[in-house]
């Protein structure tokens, strides 16, 4: 029977080929689905994968890829470090929301003062908020052994309700005619996080995402802590003998990924999002988990995976617009892409072997 056998090392060409194969498989299966729904499969696939990059309006959509991918990459970079160490923070969505709220709180408290200190203070507050929200599961795990997976997930729900409470209560804009939602920070120069150069899509969050990729790459491949993290993930007992304290590692990984997610939330609320609303958390934190895995927990892979997911979002909108493909079709397509990527990923870690049944 067909069996999986772990590979000692993943051949470099397979690491590249497997996501490509997954994308091709999704195109084939997705194309079949589109054809079944009565849409031109070739045109649909082209609209989703090609047009945002090279189509007639790509001058706009290419920078938008960065806007959409920025928070995903920033969050996923932090998550991947923990995942490597076997520490499962799946509450990045909550840390993102709390970071956004804390950052916005600084801005709203300072309003309408102007000053160069405001934005850096917001970034710090955002990171601190996310860090603190991430440290709750870390502390509980270190004290009581409570699963960080479950505590961080529960804290997402709490954060969502905090956001709704803020939007309707303490942070409600006094000029909003009683509608929920804070002031729009885009209209507050000292707190705004606008496009840094017109037409590039790059705001501070995108820069931060780029820096996070570089920093995590450095940490994981050049720094002793990165080495410890990898050892802890692969061989927890060996790591203990080597003097790695698991408590420190838990706090480091959850704190760092929380801080990065919090910063992503802050850059979003001060930039493209503009305000705290009751639906401020729009799923970036969960999607980033998928990005981390698609990127095989490697900084460069995460960069590419973030861009790929952003591509399907933007291409999906284009497909609705140009071909009248329903939004749901695009969602199914994304789901299939994830299944295929995860499935093909197995081939990079294991080889298939025929073995006689026992």
């Amino acid at each position: 029977m067909l069996q999986l056998e772990p590979r000692a090392a993943t051949p470099w060409w397979l690491a590249i080929a497997s996501p490509l194969m997954a994308v091709v498989a999704t195109m084939v299966a997705g194309g079949a689905l589109f054809a079944l729904m009565g849409f031109d499969p070739v045109a649909s696939i082209r609209t989703i994968f090609w047009d945002p990059l090279f189509g007639p309006a790509s001058g706009y959509s290419r920078p938008q890829l960065l806007v959409k991918a920025g928070p995903l990459i920033l969050i996923a970079s932090g998550l991947a470090i923990g995942f490597r160490a076997g520490i499962w923070n799946i509450g990045a969505e909550g840390q993102y929301i709390i970071g956004g709220i804390c950052g916005a709180a600084v801005a709203l408290a300072a309003y309408p003062a102007e000053g160069a200190w405001i934005f850096p203070a917001m970034v710090l507050a955002g990171a601190a908020g996310g860090w603190a929200w991430g440290m709750i599961p870390a502390t509980l795990r270190n004290w009581t052994g409570a699963s960080e997976i479950l505590v961080s997930l529960m804290l997402v729900y709490v954060a969502q309700r905090v956001a709704a409470w803020m939007a309707f209560g303490p942070m409600r804009s006094p000029e909003g005619f009683g509608m929920p939602g804070s002031r729009n920070l885009q209209h507050y120069p000292s707190a705004a996080n606008p496009e840094l150069a017109a037409g590039t899509g790059a705001h501070w969050g995108v820069i931060a995402a780029g820096l996070a990729v570089l920093a995590t790459w450095f940490l994981m491949s050049r720094h002793i802590r990165g080495f410890r993290i990898r050892v802890a993930g692969m061989a927890p007992r060996a790591a203990r003998f080597a003097g790695v304290r698991p408590e420190t590692l838990v706090a480091f990984c959850l704190g760092l990924s929380g801080a990065l997610a919090g910063m992503a939330g802050l850059f979003e609320v001060s930039g493209p999002g503009g305000q705290i609303t009751d639906s401020f958390g729009s799923g970036y934190g969960f999607t980033a988990i998928i990005v981390a895995f698609l990127g095989r927990l490697h900084p460069l892979g995460i960069l590419l995976a973030g861009l790929l997911l952003a591509l399907t979002y933007i291409g999906g909108e284009l497909a609705q617009l140009m071909l009248q493909l329903p939004a749901a079709t695009v969602q199914v397509f994304q789901g299939m892409l994830l299944f295929f990527l995860l499935g093909f990923d197995t081939l990079t870690r294991y080889r298939l072997r025929w073995r006689a049944a026992k």
Partner: protein, 293 residues
């Protein structure tokens, strides 16, 4: 306030999350963390509605909901058990896929009404009774039968279970399918019994609540019942209080069950850590199993 009507309301509100959480508890007891509950519930909601509409029989709807929930859960099962994909990512993908798929195929059912549910003893429909009955049954099977013992053993330590000759993957695949079927029934309850219509995304996060309930329950079926009643109860009670004219801090109150869940988790974890008592999460929860021989 807390009369029979409120209790009825509470039971009805708790039923979909009770089914889904029981299913997830079984899956998690076998060591599988499936975050795709929402995707499986919505699949059950559509399939159940479609079948009930086509046949005029709510019972057929529940059967179809269970079948559809189990079927879609097997995508997750095959990927995680045979292709060893990460459970967290695969579960999230399943939710996305299920929501999209049902929105796509549900279009013809929009604006159509379901056949009405027959009532049952004490004014409680039989689906609610079924949910209640499943609690002791699940408890009995998990704790008093050999199959339950095997399932729990696989969840606690899959390497040991494998060494003893049990088919870890098959046990888990079965648990995933049962979880999918129960989530499907929970979803079908929403479309057939609560709302009586199909609209896309109608489960509106119930699957995520079910995940919370399992933790609150400490993975025990009786705990799941308590959790479903707590979550359903808070939702119903705040509506009842509002209807009675009491100003309720809705956002703060709706956080309460989640905070309670964290507290419960912390207590049972601490008990296990410091006194070696009680059971926290199953030992192999979320970890992929790969036979080394």
């Amino acid at each position: 306030m807390i009369g029979w009507t409120t209790l009825l309301l509470l039971m009805s509100a708790a039923t979909p999350i009770l089914f889904a959480a029981l299913g997830e508890a079984i899956a998690e007891r076998s060591g599988v963390l499936n975050l795709g509950v929402e995707g499986m519930m919505i699949t059950g909601a559509l399939a159940g509605f479609a079948a009930a509409h086509a046949t005029g029989s709510p019972l057929a709807g529940f059967v179809a909901g269970a079948a559809a929930g189990a079927a879609i859960s097997l995508i997750f099962g095959v990927l995680t058990q045979y292709l060893l994909t990460n459970q967290v990512a695969t579960g999230l993908a399943l939710t996305m896929f299920g929501l999209g798929l049902t929105a796509m195929f549900g279009r013809p059912y929009e604006g159509v009404k379901a056949p009405s549910m027959p009532g049952g003893p004490l004014g409680v429909n039989w689906a609610i009774w079924l949910g209640l009955a499943l609690v002791p049954v699940t408890w009995f099977v998990l704790n008093r039968t050999r199959r339950g013992l095997i399932l729990r053993g696989v969840g606690e330590n899959h390497d040991a279970a494998h060494a003893l000759g049990y088919k870890v993957r098959l046990v888990r695949l079965t648990a995933i399918a049962i979880g999918g079927a129960l989530a499907g029934i929970g979803g079908a309850y929403v479309s057939i019994a609560t709302v009586l219509q199909w609209t896309e995304g109608m489960t509106a996060g119930a699957g995520w609540i079910a995940l919370a309930i399992v933790v609150f329950a400490g993975w025990s079926p009786w705990g799941v019942l308590a959790g479903a009643w707590l979550f359903g109860g808070v939702a119903v009670l705040q509506l009842r209080l509002q209807a009675a004219g009491v100003a309720v801090p809705v956002q703060l109150l709706s956080m309460a069950p989640y905070l309670a869940t964290i507290i419960v988790l912390v207590i049972i974890s601490a008990r296990q850590k410091y006194r070696g008592r009680g059971s926290a999460a199953p030992g192999s929860l979320g970890r992929p199993f790969h036979a080394t021989r």
